[in-house]
């Protein structure tokens, strides 16, 4: 197991190095640079700024400098947010994206597993149909439409109640988390429902399930111990990339609900060619993704009884 984790971590580090290098050169290949502004700059001002940010050095030297700074955990100063370090931006805004993302994953997980199981239990009857239609709708309608619709519904609700039942946007109180988290998690919830349904159907017709029932196991014990634990594995496999995608892919939701998460900085940085923020957020998210995937691999071993057996032998 230790060997396995070490191998995964090493390949993770190589992946991060590759992401950083590829992003660095791709970003410099795009026309324009962070100093490009609507109004032209005098050559003297431009020279000063280039010197301040090290843009006057040859590209390969800039790359070396970036890499050595990165190893020391320093991503430099943002170009667009004059006085802020990229480290500060990540430190202040990632927890917000993460909170939103975790809430979204929880909603998606609980919703997806229950809806998928219910659909499998009622295969080809109306609850199944309802769930599957909802799944298709949630997967095919883009997030910004759902976000906009959710906001319209809230406004209508609040106007009807003549008080603030739910906040329309903003960040800072618990009540401001749930709606954006639901919107953010909806697509994933739908996707997980489908996986859960398929996998649960398989389990329901499996020999061990029939054997368990024949032994007289029923009720919650049958569901949680025998069916869910086996059926949920494919969902857990999806969880790693899902968590990473949700915590990083919240740009639209963050924009529409005015949430100061890192996703917004990530996308804006690309639009504004804010080199340091692009590199900082990309490497950070890359590392985060790698870490989550490794963690899921480990948790896989904890949940699946068969994988645990394997560990016992080695």
């Amino acid at each position: 197991m230790v060997n396995f984790i070490a191998r995964r971590l090493l390949s993770g580090l190589i992946t991060i190095w590759f992401i950083a290098t590829a992003t660095f050169f791709a970003m410099h290949a795009v026309p324009g640079d962070p100093l490009t502004q609507e109004k032209a700059m005098s050559p003297a001002v431009r020279a000063q700024l280039e010197a301040r940010y090290g843009l006057d050095k040859p590209l390969i030297e800039q790359y070396q400098l970036f890499m050595s700074n990165m190893l020391r955990g320093d991503f430099g100063i943002s170009f667009t947010q004059e006085n802020r370090s990229v480290n500060d931006i990540i430190r202040e805004h990632f927890p917000i994206s993460a909170t939103l993302g975790i809430a979204a994953v929880l909603i998606a997980l609980v919703g997806g597993i229950s809806a998928g199981s219910a659909a499998a239990y009622c295969k080809n009857r109306w609850p199944d149909r309802v769930v599957m239609i909802a799944v298709i709708a949630a997967i095919s309608v883009p997030g910004f439409v759902i976000a906009g619709l959710a906001q319209l519904v809230i406004v209508a609700l609040n106007n009807a109640a003549e008080t603030t039942l739910l906040p329309v946007a903003g960040w800072g109180s618990v009540s401001q988390i749930w709606v954006p988290a639901l919107v953010l998690g909806l697509g994933t919830m739908a996707y997980l429902s489908r996986i859960m349904r398929a996998s649960m159907l398989e389990v329901l017709s499996a020999d061990f399930n029939i054997a368990a029932k024949a032994k007289g196991v029923n009720g919650w014990r049958l569901f949680f111990h025998h069916q869910l634990r086996n059926a949920v594995l494919p969902v857990v496999t999806e969880l790693g990339p899902t968590i990473a995608a949700i915590t990083t892919g919240g740009f639209v939701v963050e924009l529409i609900f005015a949430i100061p998460g890192l996703g917004r900085y990530f996308v804006q940085a690309v639009q504004q060619l804010d080199y340091t923020v692009i590199m900082g957020t990309t490497v950070f998210y890359g590392a985060f993704l790698v870490l989550v995937v490794v963690l899921v691999d480990i948790s896989y071993g904890l949940i699946d009884p068969r994988i645990r057996l394997h560990r016992g032998r080695s």
């Binding site: 324009g32 032209a40 229950s114 906001q151 603030t164 329309v168 946007a169 903003g170 924009l255």
Partner: protein, 547 residues
């Protein structure tokens, strides 16, 4: 068996119902205290910001959001009053002459920490803005001040800059060239005072947080959570604090999405929301009052004059001029009230000697005429020795409106002139970079005024201007600009400007298309908010809330 499964499902379902119910309960009890767009009792206004100000350091700030915030936090020598006219700020009186200006500062002006605002704070701020290491992008705006350009380029020490404190309360500015519009510059963001001790203390962290700068304006920055929340509170040290009626401007939402802002407005959470085409219809349906103001900016098609470009041919440009009807573009294609068709380099908001420039010097109108356009095109073909025009590249922005506009031109070129126009749609920075490199035939560009004088538009197409992206070069144009820059006689200046206006129509270095306007909805109880091109927008210094 089926029965047990079903009952299981029912249990699950009732469980989830309970879960949803308890979630809703949590949601409802933890909803924030019913925030209101306007609160008369507390004299509080709540707003949303499109983006966070990139910096609040007045020496380097360039964007409109920073301009809006700074106009509330700081006060310059002069200010724009409730009607958008120049009025006394920190300076209680002043004198403008041909070779300089003197300002006498009021002794009652205070910083938020209680220290007096003195002439030294202005001298320091201006020198700091011009220091080469500050790399201020607005340094050029100081260039009429004596030695400003040389100081900015590091050729002279900053002590040589033509500004000095005669006493604590008297400031003298020497000009290097006539600057009849200097009073409006004195109200501009980069000319705001700065405290040397505060800057020294915070160094590169200056103005990075609400506690890292001091204020001499009507408000102080009470709270700044990056990317999330800004709050301004009335400055008790402000010399005119008695006349400031708003106690608090709270901005707990930062989102560039107009729909989100509109939803917040409809929900009564914010007092002002901008409108785009889609939202305009909705606002009209809901019976909101639609407000409007002219942003002062000009949109135009700019031609590329670099070697070998077809667009460098005058007959070709005349053909395009005869092809495009700004009136049709504005009314049929853009269809947003408040946007005006443009016919001159100078928008209708530009000031003349006494009245608006366009009233004093009406522009010669060239009416669209497809037959004339084709005649010019035939002439261009002959002059260029072409059998057929190759496809041309139209560089455009990535907004829905920019695309709509570009597609309209594409249609007109094909239908009217038989020329294929290829749309090169680019995000902001890439478009600017392609403009700089000259990687286009025609570009849909825009210009907003920097200062309250006609020259902010006029010198745009002088051959030496870095913002002249098409590299238009006309000795006659340059000569009129030089004449106006070196003349302190108002009539001479504006006569020269009339010549510039004529050259733009006759030689078509650019083709003006429309003058931009901004539409918005505003809470009807909020009064006296000034919307204007100069002096910070929107401006709440003179606003109040009706009971």
């Amino acid at each position: 068996m089926a029965k047990t499964l079903l009952s299981r499902f029912i249990v699950l379902r009732s469980l989830s119902t309970q879960l949803i119910a308890s979630c809703l309960f949590i949601l409802v009890i933890s909803a924030p205290a019913n925030a209101q767009a306007v609160d008369a009792a507390q004299a509080k206004v709540t707003l949303a910001l499109a983006t966070e100000p990139p910096t609040l350091n007045s020496a380097v700030a360039t964007d409109t959001i920073a301009g809006f915030i700074l106009s509330h936090l700081m006060e310059g020598l002069l200010v724009y009053d409730a009607n958008g006219q120049l009025a006394a700020g920190v300076a209680e009186r002043w004198q403008l002459d041909a070779d300089g200006a003197s300002f006498w500062l009021r002794e009652s002006a205070r910083w938020s920490d209680g220290k007096p605002v003195t002439a030294h704070d202005f001298v320091f701020a201006w020198r700091h803005a011009l220091k080469p290491t500050t790399a201020s992008q607005y340094a050029f705006i100081f260039y009429p001040v004596k030695n400003a350009e040389a100081v900015n380029n590091g050729k002279l020490p900053e002590s040589e800059l033509g500004v000095r404190a005669v006493s604590d309360y008297e400031l003298r500015v020497e000009f290097g060239q006539p600057c009849p519009y200097f009073l409006s510059l004195a109200a501009f963001m980069t000319f705001l005072p700065m405290r040397e001790d505060v800057l020294d203390h915070w160094g590169s962290r200056y103005a990075a947080d609400s506690d890292k700068l001091v204020f001499n304006g009507a408000f102080v920055l009470e709270k700044w959570i990056h990317g999330a929340h800004l709050r301004l509170r009335k400055n008790s040290q402000y010399w005119q604090a008695d006349s400031v009626k708003i106690n608090e401007i709270d901005m707990p939402y930062i989102t560039a999405d107009p729909s989100a802002q509109f939803n917040l407005f409809r929900d009564g959470q914010i007092a002002i929301a901008p409108l785009d085409t889609g939202l305009l219809n909705e606002a009209v349906e809901r019976g909101f009052d639609i407000e409007y103001f002219h942003t002062g900016s000009l949109f135009f098609l700019e031609f590329n004059f670099r070697e070998g470009r077809i667009t460098a041919n005058r007959s070709f440009r005349k053909a395009v001029q005869r092809l495009i009807d700004p009136d049709l573009l504005v009314n049929k294609i853009i269809g947003l009230p408040g946007i005006k068709p443009a016919y001159s380099l100078f928008p209708v908001t530009v000031k003349g000697m006494k009245d608006p420039f366009r009233e004093e010097y009406p522009v010669m109108r060239v009416d669209p005429d497809i037959a004339a356009a084709r005649e010019y095109l035939a002439q261009a073909k002959e002059e260029l020795g072409l059998d057929k025009f190759p496809p041309l590249v139209l560089l455009a922005g990535d907004s829905p409106r920019a695309l709509q506009e570009a597609e309209y031109y594409q249609y007109l070129f094909k239908k009217g002139l038989g020329i294929e126009l290829r749309i090169d749609q680019q995000v902001f920075k890439q478009r600017i970079e392609k403009m700089r490199r000259g990687d286009f035939d025609i570009v849909a560009a825009a210009w907003g005024p920097d200062y309250d004088d006609i020259m902010t538009f006029a010198d745009l197409f002088a051959s030496w201007n870095e913002n002249n992206r098409g590299r238009y070069s006309n000795p006659l144009y340059d000569r009129w600009i030089r004449l106006a820059q070196h003349s302190s006689d108002t009539r001479t200046r504006f006569n020269a400007m009339a010549q510039i206006q004529r050259i733009v129509v006759e030689d078509v270095p650019i083709l003006p298309t429309y003058e931009n306007g901004s539409l918005y909805v505003q809470n009807p109880r909020l009064k006296g908010v000034r919307r204007s091109i100069f002096g910070g927008d929107p401006f709440f210094r003179y606003a109040w809330i009706e009971q």
